[in-house]
């Protein structure tokens, strides 16, 4: 699976008069890792939801390698090659870890046996192989996050959307996840867009960062550039987590 180019152009969404996202445009070239940051309530997850097809943008378009995906249903967006995780993880609780990821793998591998094999090898990569027969609801939070990533990867996406996948992880676990994602991106060229509050991960992974606040893009640049950007500092004053 190599990556695709993700492009947002003038995307906006309002909920009953409340403007959640307004005129946001940025692009993530194929094979790169970008980050989307901003204070809580800035509209980051709404942007993800518009890419993933949960919401239809009121304005603007989302394209994947030039093909418009905004307005498609979430499963059709997955068909187009977008995988996503949820900010509050949503495992299939009553199913085993292996079954969870298998369901993802079935997307590209209709044969159940083959899907299970693909799922098992993904679990091994994410260090969940020995827990593969445990019920998802019995996993710890860090394991559930890994499960969420594995399940999304099993669909063999060209773009992976990760929503605060580091939240709640200890520093060593963060490093492991960062290493995994960096390796994944290097090996396969998968395009990754992360929503993150954990700056350590953003600095380590992202080639470019998009900053949103109150639904609007206020800055875009390399991690070094935006960490010195005045508007960004203003917005984060008193809110930044030192990690």
């Amino acid at each position: 699976m190599s990556g695709a180019r993700l492009e947002l152009d003038g995307v906006g969404k309002a909920f009953r008069g409340l403007r959640a996202v307004h005129d946001v445009s940025f692009s993530v070239p194929a094979g790169t890792i970008h980050a989307l940051i901003g204070p809580n309530g800035a509209g980051k997850t709404t942007i993800f939801n518009m890419i993933a097809g949960v919401y239809v943008p009121d304005a603007g378009t989302v394209t994947l390698d030039g093909r418009k995906i905004s307005g498609l249903r979430p499963d059709r967006v997955c068909d187009a090659g977008v995988g996503r995780t949820f900010q509050i993880v949503k495992p299939f609780r009553g199913l085993s870890v292996l079954e969870n990821v298998t369901i993802g793998a079935l997307h590209q591998r209709p044969d159940l046996g083959e899907a299970r094999e693909v799922a098992a090898s993904l679990l091994a990569q994410l260090g969940l192989h020995d827990r593969r027969h445990q019920l998802a609801e019995n996993l710890t939070l860090p394991d559930r996050k890994r499960l969420e990533v594995a399940r999304a990867l099993a669909t063999e996406p060209k773009v992976l959307l990760l929503d605060e996948v580091m939240a709640g992880l200890r520093p060593t676990e963060i490093d492991v996840m960062v290493a995994f994602l960096r390796d994944l991106n290097a090996r396969t060229g998968l395009t990754i867009l992360l929503i993150e509050h954990v700056m350590r991960a953003v600095m380590a992974l992202a080639r470019e960062v998009v900053v949103v606040s109150y639904g609007e893009k206020i800055a875009e640049g390399t991690p070094q550039e935006i960490s010195r950007h005045q508007a960004v500092l203003d917005v984060y004053l008193g809110e930044q987590e030192m990690s």
Binding site: D79, K90, P91, F92, L95, D111, L112, G113
Partner: protein, 332 residues
């Protein structure tokens, strides 16, 4: 054969042996049981079959239907009507019957899902359609109206026209029940079956990994409706009469749901275990209530039994039983 291997994958061999023994026992049962015993066994198999059909929609796809009598009734009436008016044998008529029920299921399913009805609201939609059809058939002369439709009974055994004694219908319902069991196992161990489980667990997460939720739910409804129609056809030709009051009755819809709910929703053996328990209890209560000479006594026992079961074994009897016997039906 790959199919057989897939069906038996993960099943311990002693379970397979037990199933084999059970099948043989069922095949020779008529020789061992008297007329009464056979009729009870027929009842058990009927509820196991129709419960399995309902289970596909509820246990697998998670949609509560309390109007399944619609499909059984349609199936029965279409096949019986074609036989009655045009002499079309039921082995041919069944295709039309199943198609009619599947179409009805598609309509109910589509309306329900398209308009995002869930839970009680969806259940009420299914009831409304079933009742509506009941009232319509009450006034439809081609189907005999409220006076009913009667099939001629003679003493010949004619398999093509499904004329014959209990033996014929026993093996027929046995074949249907076994077939449904195998079908459900095959479905569960397929991509569709896995997608159903995902939808039941978390439909939003399922969509995010590419599961076409609406399409999967529709398929569940249509399969469930079609299978239920088969039960209706069997029923019509076994009892040789049909009345809208009973064929489409809410009581019939409810009785279809009892075996799978009591036995264990979403499991393979649930409907069968439930059918055995319910029919067995029914027989016991009929005998017991004869001591009382009070109308409704049997139903009172029945109601108490249901109460006890739902309070103490809400997940169904089979999951508890399987746990006790040390069999894991790989309840996913």
């Amino acid at each position: 054969m790959k199919l057989i291997r897939r069906l038996t994958d993960g099943v311990p061999s002693r379970a397979l042996w037990a199933l084999g023994v059970l099948l043989v026992a069922l095949l020779v049962a008529p020789a061992l049981l008297g007329k009464y015993g056979l009729s009870v066994l027929i009842l058990i198999l009927y509820f196991a079959f129709v419960g399995q059909a309902w289970n596909i929609m509820m246990g697998f796809a998670g949609q509560l239907s309390l109007g399944h009598a619609l499909y059984a009734g349609l199936g029965g009436y279409v096949a019986a009507g074609l036989f009655f008016h045009y002499g079309l044998g039921p082995w041919a008529g069944v295709f039309v019957a199943v198609a009619a029920a599947a179409a009805a299921g598609a309509i109910v399913g589509y309306l329900g899902f398209r308009f995002s009805l869930a839970g009680v609201y969806f259940a009420l939609l299914t009831i409304a359609f079933s009742e509506f059809t009941r009232l319509a058939f009450d006034h439809w002369e081609w189907a005999g109206g409220s006076g009913g439709l009667f099939l001629k009974v003679d003493s010949t055994v004619d398999v093509w026209n499904l004329r014959g004694g209990p033996l014929l219908f026993y093996y027929l319902i046995l074949a249907l029940a076994v077939g449904a069991f195998i079908l459900c196992r095959a479905l569960l161990e397929s991509r569709l079956g896995r997608y159903w489980l995902a939808i039941r667990e978390d439909a939003e997460a399922a969509q995010a990994v590419g599961v076409p939720v609406l399409r999967c739910k529709m398929i569940a409804v249509v399969i469930s409706a079609g299978l239920t129609a088969l039960a209706g056809v069997w029923n019509a030709f076994y009892y040789n009469n049909l009345f809208p009051e009973t064929a489409f009755a809410m009581g019939r819809s409810i009785e279809i749901t009892l075996a799978p709910i009591i036995g264990g929703l979403g499991t393979l053996f649930g409907p069968m275990v439930g059918a055995v328990v319910l029919t067995g209890l029914g027989e016991v209560f009929t005998d017991a209530s004869e001591y009382f000479h009070v109308p409704g006594m049997k139903q009172i026992f029945y109601g108490l039994a249901l109460l006890v079961i739902v309070i103490y074994r809400p997940a169904g009897i089979w999951p508890w039983l399987a746990g006790r016997l040390g069999i894991g039906e790989r309840r996913p």
